[in-house]
Subunit: 464 residues, 2 copies
């Protein structure tokens, strides 16, 4: 085998900065730290490095005295370089940190230079989007990536504790769950070719917009399931809230009605937020400081109180009676606009769950009320972010479901497999969808979806 290259890790003694800084006592003896130089500050006879290794937001301050042989290479330690440092962890002399590393040995693993695009200064979000391959090396984007990971973990943790099984519903699909039609087509035919019967799947294939229909099939066997996977919209709109590719969480539970569904969704949001506050407080504090003042308070509020639940009809009445000058007039049968959502959250001073929407504005699979005027749908609206979750109790009655599909111009034959679950051993069931990036925007105060995705996909944007 080759000689190990400089900086390779086979020495198991390497310590990670998060563990060093979180320790109560300094380790006895030398420690090895590996990471990236964020800044270097030279004073008389001494040089200070801020080193980050991605394990947390915090940098380790490394101190190199002129008297030490390691001092000879400090001029090469520019922002962005990767280094391996050996030294003693000692109580810090300076302000702002409890510990610092007294360096005895430095190895430059990967040099950097003045052309490194992330020099020490504040960069605009727009600039950083152009170098999305480097931006996770900044405080803000590193924090977002860690928060993504923390929240993904909490999602699995939450559902596992409640007896839900994680399922992988298909990404390539032959059906359109939302009936919205804005789907990407998947093909192996050469461009210009037009013979779907010769295509890979022998018919038109698309990228899924939702795993719900397949999750319903699995819930009729495993009782409680959830998806957590990528979903796609070929919506040609360049807004700050839309991406062509994003991740969704979609639980589906047999024997659940709309109340159970609202309980589940509310407790999930509270769990995710409280876990982030507990495990990622440093990362969140960065957003409180630089992105949205008061963020931590807003998040604490989200965990504290029960969410108000009102029917759509009552919500419309509140909006009408408000006398507010909305851009879109509120009336029974109208979608709630962003300004309506905001008004309702302000009105109640916190999150609001609106339920029982008009059947005329909701998809075929939602359970119809006896007077057919409403369906058992619910949306969770939260302050600042607006609609965070949309869910419903599903129509479990075969005749009612088929009737609705036919009225909407759908072909029940194409959904035979979906109808089969109502034909034999069907049960009342319910579920909802949470857009993972929408949640992260709500959690961090970040207002552009491009900044909570590692490599966002939007119209005419497919870099990296």
């Amino acid at each position: 085998m080759n000689q190990p290259p400089p900086g390779a890790a086979s020495d198991l003694a390497r310590s990670r900065i998060k563990d060093l800084l979180g320790g109560k006592q300094a380790p006895s003896g030398q420690v090895i730290v590996k990471g990236w130089v964020r800044t270097r500050r030279d004073a008389k006879g001494v040089s200070f490095l801020e080193v980050n290794d991605g394990s947390s937001l915090a940098n380790l301050q490394a101190v190199i005295y002129e008297s030490d042989p390691a001092y000879s290479i400090i001029k090469e330690l520019s922002t962005g370089a990767s280094v391996s440092l050996t030294g003693l962890l000692v109580p810090s002399q300076g302000q702002g940190q409890k510990w610092e590393l007294l360096v005895h040995k430095i190895q430059i693993v990967g040099p950097s230079g003045p052309d490194y695009p992330l020099q020490k200064k504040r960069h605009s979000d727009e600039y950083l989007r152009e170098i999305a391959h480097l931006r996770p090396r900044t405080n803000k984007y590193g924090a977002i990536m860690r928060l993504r990971s923390q929240c993904a973990w909490a999602i699995h943790d939450f559902f596992r504790a409640k007896g839900f099984f994680y399922v992988h519903t298909p990404i390539i699909t032959g059906s359109d769950a939302e009936g919205a039609g804005e789907m990407f087509r998947v093909t192996t035919l050469p461009p210009g070719d037009n013979k779907p019967e010769e295509d890979f799947f022998g018919k038109v294939a698309s990228l899924t917009v939702s795993g719900q229909l397949e999750a319903e099939l699995l819930a009729m066997a495993l009782d409680r399931v959830y998806t957590f996977g990528p979903t796609f919209r070929a919506e040609n709109s360049n807004t700050s809230r839309h991406a062509a590719e994003f991740w969704m969480i979609e639980p589906e539970a047999a024997f659940f009605d709309l109340n159970d569904d609202m309980d589940l969704a509310e407790s999930m949001i509270k769990y995710l937020v409280s876990q982030a506050l507990e495990h990622s407080r440093d990362d969140l504090a960065l957003f409180d400081r630089f992105v949205e003042n008061g963020l931590l308070d807003r998040l604490e509020n989200l965990v504290a109180a029960p969410y108000v639940r009102i029917s759509y009809e009552d919500a419309i009445e509140i909006l009408v009676k408000s006398g507010a000058d909305f851009e879109f007039e509120p009336f029974f049968g109208a979608d709630l606009a962003t300004s309506h959502e905001r008004y309702l959250c302000d009105h109640f001073g916190g999150p609001v769950i609106v339920h029982d929407y008009p059947s005329s504005i909701k998809p075929f699979y939602m359970r119809l009320s006896d007077d057919e005027r409403t369906v058992a749908a619910m949306d969770i609206l939260v302050p600042k972010a607006g609609e965070l979750i949309g869910g419903s109790q599903r129509e479990e009655r075969l005749d009612v479901l088929m009737d609705r599909m036919i009225k909407l111009g759908m072909d029940p034959k194409a959904y035979q497999w979906y109808l089969d679950t109502r034909r034999w051993g069907g049960t009342p069931h319910a579920g909802f969808g949470l857009g993972f990036e929408r949640f992260l925007m709500m959690l961090t105060g970040v207002t552009n979806i491009r900044d909570v995705l590692p490599f966002p996909r939007t119209p005419r944007n497919l870099e990296f």
Copy 2:
């Protein structure tokens, strides 16, 4: 709001069968169980139901005496029906179970009938693939779905404990990580149209074959990351081991060399298998009994011993010296064929890690040895399943990497973002890929990939 439909769950008293059967004591008072009838057996004056609610492999035996009013509807309790049962959990009189439910009240939630496609008998895998929307209701496929969930959990658990962050690398991509060319194209142009510049992304877009390149970018900021997401191959081959859509786990770690990579991969396999043995023993025992006799022993062996590590060159020598009559002749520069992999595992009596492969048969991103004859690659071969993991230390030297790309006819300009991570603050790093379905096949003894995916996608097959 509507009246709750029959069987809705708002009664929070519902117990899940896994919890009831796992309990040491019977709950005092009545319990409510909801699930699906697997079988009904009528005896004189008494009827026995086997009910499953998906929470585990085990059924609950429900007993209904003729003297009870509930007995009047037993004729309607056919296989596949969903039911809500109220009764007392009592020590079982019969063989095979510790507890049974003495039923006082039955509600048929969703009826079934003689046309239900999963009548009580053994069905062929082929038949069950055609009703993949119903097959999770069988013991075998229910067990597979629970094992998928258990193993996915263990993957997150393993990496989190080791300080790895979960990242979502993009599904739609403009680059080809493997250079294999067998990619699905993603488009919003109408079939027959041939103007990529008018397409959604303004250029040719494909479904990813690997998240590795993007994971490398993130590892240069977060130090340790892993992906767990869907990947795609438009390979038009109808084999039992290939699917067009499958899930992959790809860790990537800064400062890791090939040895660290092998350590990580070996400990991951052992962790996943040992966790499955601990948490999913009942489900695994089903496969030991009906799919592969001796499975549990094979799995225990996989956890027990350290994996042999040999160089590719030594492996070839063993194969040559064996005198065995291989279909494909082993020589330096040849890919290891399935029969070679099998021979090596037999030879060493367990898993084998083969490392340092000829550079001529491996992709551009693997780290070149000083004599350029080999690259720092490794594959883990396991008994029965063959190659389970492929990984490598990545080429971190900018000049060597660019040289290699040019020699392979690649355009370095198209990979500027990838090269940038070597330009500034690069580090030695390594990673590997584990196909989730390959792992599940290895874990269960199931030999067709179509049977470990909920809704498999293969050539000319896009149902559900």
